[in-house]
Amino acid sequence: MNLVIVSGPPSSGKTSVILKTCDALKNSGHRVGVVKFDCLHTDDDKLYAAYGIPVKKGLSGALCPDHFFVSNIEEVVQWGIEEKLDILISESAGLCNRCSPYIKDILSVCVIDNLSGINTPKKVGPMLRSADIVVITKGDIVSQAEREVFASRVGQVNPRALTMHVNGLTGQGAYELSTLFYKDDLNLDTVKGMTLKFPMPAALCSYCLGETRIGDEFQQGNVRKMNWEQN
């Protein structure tokens, strides 16, 4: 089985891009399944199911969805193998822009959209910087100049990625993307023992553990104050 990890900021078009790519993969005779990670709620699983794509969803609830992803990805891989998938696509929630659920040696794709503004590449951390493929969406509604400026900004923070434009509505570019999702000679049977491309942010302060009161005396663990001098 091949595993592809798709990540990206909210509303960047991850689900649309994956759906169109799945279509192309199915047409070329591949069995493809999706796992959707989210925080509180998602209906995307119903969308995938409506397209006849085997799907599972994982809601992290009160936990960080990317931490939740790492704790569950092995079981997800085993589900994919049981389902006899050729390709398993994991779609992340993409919340804080800091994290990335990417695993070393596993194809990682970041979906980011032209409408998010040209300063977005600078704001997004390892999710964009350490992706193997950067898919830029919503190119059909912005000018050629803005597409070029945006792509060049992406190139400044991740010059090694393959950068592609995909239209999630018409599927333009999805076929091309799909050809990068499957390699005959890859046969993954576990992700145990693999490592994340980039560590998750440090956490664990009193608020991680359910504290709700505000004030110095309630702040324990990994606590940091704003730097007022540099501000």
């Binding site: 503004g117 350490s130 950067v134 059909d140 509604i141 050629q144 070029e148 333009q172 076929y175």
Partner: protein, 333 residues
């Protein structure tokens, strides 16, 4: 110049644009000036890198890749020349062979693409953009200068084969026209940005029915002015040798002049259209049906005469529009 052994300051002296890499990656160019990139990165505390979510080794190798790519972008104009683009036939949606042997397209040529919605126009354009080599659903092949194209056309962020102009495109940045063009010029590493910006503004004003100033915000431009600016910008600043146009609405812009501007920059212009004037302006038109190119028609002399008549009507409609806008009475067409 060796990227690994030169100090960042020395690199900056030759390549102003490395400053962008520092800004986008939250690095401090001032501190780095007297050091090599590798020494500079080694001097940043682990904790600080962690806060910036940067990986020392990755930043270093990204920096080298970035400088190498940008140098190529600057020096590669000759290698990027497309003197001829050829389409070799594949199959339509029903698996039948397409109705042509080979189509050769040359710079400064306009080709229109006609066919009902859903007939496969987008697929054709996508095959060109992806430089298909029998590996897309149509099995078409694309050759550039009679050769199988380099894969860089597929994947490079800065070096796309096709620039696109379509009807529903907007400017989403809220900048003045001048600032907007500066930003674009900067991303294309243009040396003489000032004069390029002036040329684009002049060209755009010539295309637009109503002139606008460099200080106008791009979001405040009218539909015609926006299209004029987009076309002038694409013609002059975009390096993509092929321009794909999805209709040009016949309002507030001189379409003939717009196309001539693109042609004068030696672009190959492909134009998907339902508009008879645009379809006939082209030297040739590709007839798309059932997912394939069913036929290639050269524009005949009779069709050129029809075009001249059409243009007379177009002009009449435009004159009428202007008169009505300025409160005049009209009594005949």
């Amino acid at each position: 110049m060796n990227i690994k052994t030169q100090t960042c300051g020395e690199l900056l002296a030759s390549y102003r644009w490395i400053a962008d890499f520092f800004t986008e990656n939250h690095l401090d160019l001032e501190t780095a000036k007297n050091q090599t990139m590798s020494d500079y990165l080694a001097s940043i505390a682990d904790e600080q890198l962690e806060d910036l979510a940067l990986d020392r080794d990755k930043v270093l190798s990204d920096f080298i890749t970035f400088v190498t790519q940008m140098r190529e972008l600057l020096g590669e104009t000759a290698a990027n020349r497309v003197d001829k683009l050829s389409i070799l036939p594949g199959l339509n949606k029903e698996g039948e062979p397409e109705g042509f042997d080979r189509i050769d397209l040359y710079p400064s040529e306009i080709i229109s693409i006609v066919g009902p919605t859903g007939s496969g126009k987008s697929r054709l354009l996508q095959d060109i953009e992806w430089t298909a080599s029998g590996d897309t659903p149509t099995r078409r092949r694309i050759l550039i200068n009679d050769e199988v194209p380099d894969l860089k056309w597929r994947f490079s962020a800065n070096n796309k084969l096709v620039a696109q102009l379509s009807q529903n495109m907007n400017f989403v940045m809220d900048l003045t026209c001048y600032d907007f063009l500066s930003l674009h010029a900067q991303s294309r590493l243009v040396q003489d940005a000032e004069s390029v910006i002036q040329r684009i503004l002049e060209a755009a004003n010539e295309l637009a029915g109503e002139p606008f100033s460099p200080h106008t915000h791009v979001t405040a431009l009218s539909g015609g002015q926006s299209r004029a600016l987009m076309i002038a910008d694409t013609a002059i600043l975009s390096t993509s040798p092929i321009v794909l146009i999805d209709e040009i609405e016949n309002a507030g812009i001189d379409r003939r002049k717009a196309l001539n501007l693109l042609l004068s920059k030696e672009k190959i212009v492909l134009m998907a259209t339902h508009d008879p004037t645009l379809a006939l302006i082209a030297d040739r038109r590709l007839i798309i049906s059932k997912g394939g190119i069913a036929n290639v028609l050269d524009t005949t002399d009779a069709e050129r005469r029809v075009l001249s008549e059409l243009e007379i009507y177009d002009l009449k409609v435009q004159t009428l529009r202007r008169k009505l806008r300025y409160g005049e009475r009209v009594d005949s067409l």
